[in-house]
């Protein structure tokens, strides 16, 4: 009886369990990469690609100029706060609407 209940619970929450395993495995992989790779900087892959473009063309990175002038965040702090703003916009949308749906369901 108890056994049956546990199996049923495990089946019901398969996706949650898989998500936790995936996140933990992802963190473990990160820690492994961090400790095993000497000098892993974890810079953006976008920048790595830009560097490769520079290598392929034989021009140094400083010689690439924006085609259309653009504003750049003056520091990493400001950049990260703007990224957080982007995530917050998404979070408000998702949280707000899920809350609205839960409210609707309770009312019905």
């Amino acid at each position: 009886m108890r056994q049956g209940l546990t199996t049923k619970m495990a089946y019901r929450y398969t996706l949650e369990i898989l998500a936790v395993i995936a996140v933990v495995a992802f963190c473990a992989l990160f820690l492994y990469t961090e400790t095993s790779t000497n000098g892993a900087e974890f810079a953006g892959s976008d920048d790595a690609a830009s560097q490769l473009v520079a290598n392929l063309t034989g021009t140094s990175l400083e010689n690439f100029h924006p085609v259309i002038p653009q504003w750049e965040p003056p520091s990493g702090e400001i950049e990260s706060s703007l990224f957080a703003l982007q995530a917050a916009i998404g979070g408000i949308l998702v949280g707000g609407i899920f809350g609205y749906w839960i409210g609707q369901k309770k009312k019905a």
Partner: protein, 230 residues
């Protein structure tokens, strides 16, 4: 997946803009029709679009020792198709071009093609292929999300390779080089993204099965099976 401003020759910027523009215009037309006809679907649009905002802001470390971000386009692709998804991607990518110097206005066309058009199109193809089969709907969502993410980065690699063929080996060998940077980094991220979005879809199924059935995203039978099974 951003090509940085200034890192794509002008002629290629124009090519990708020319490909992106009709897709965006069709997306805006579809979006307008959706807003006019079906206001009940708007919250679903908000949730699926919200996940694009959240996931594309998270830059995560990966096996290659560099960081990259998921795209989050899977849910919106399944719910509203690739064209509306490309409009949402345009908004996110425009935000990142203007305020974060990630990508830029001249390369926006190329970045929309990779994240907003080719990725979602591949995902949508898989969805259409699996929708009418007995495959579990969460596996469908997983595959659509993970592969839309992967193919976004494959496309970015191709865009860069076409613009910068290697001296020996041409486009193919520089494509392999760019894939080494983008695709390899992306594999673990795409898998995690697929599982997370499948989990989110489970909650949408639990809260709003009627919308999913009415928009014919999955059949009533599939949705009900997913509800009692999970």
């Amino acid at each position: 997946m951003h090509i940085m401003e200034g890192f794509l020759p002008l002629q290629w910027c124009i090519v990708w803009w020319i490909i992106a523009l009709p897709c965006l215009m069709f997306g805006i037309y579809q979006l307008k029709k959706l807003v006019d006809l079906d206001r009940e679907a708007l919250p679903l649009l908000g949730v699926t679009g919200g996940f694009i905002f959240i996931l594309s802001s998270l830059k995560l470390p990966s096996v290659t020792g560099s960081c990259s971000h998921p795209t989050g386009t899977g849910l919106s692709t399944i719910s509203f198709g690739p064209w509306i998804t490309s409009v949402i991607c345009m908004i996110v990518l425009l935000f990142q071009s203007l305020f974060l110097a990630h990508g830029g206005l001249s390369v926006l066309g190329a970045n929309i093609v990779s994240m907003g058009i080719v990725g979602p199109l591949v995902g949508y193809g898989i969805y259409r292929l699996l929708r009418d089969t007995p495959v579990n709907i969460y596996i469908t969502v997983f595959l659509v999300s993970a592969l839309a993410d992967m193919f976004t980065y494959v496309t970015t690699s191709l865009e860069l390779a076409l613009a910068y063929p290697a001296e020996t080996g041409g486009v193919v060998s520089s494509f392999i080089l760019f894939m080494g940077i983008f695709a390899l980094t992306q594999v673990p991220l795409a898998i995690v993204e697929g599982i997370i979005l499948a989990l989110v879809f489970k909650y949408i199924v639990a809260l709003k099965p009627d919308i999913l059935i009415r928009l014919k995203i999955f059949s009533e039978k599939q949705i009900n099976a997913a509800r009692t099974d999970n």
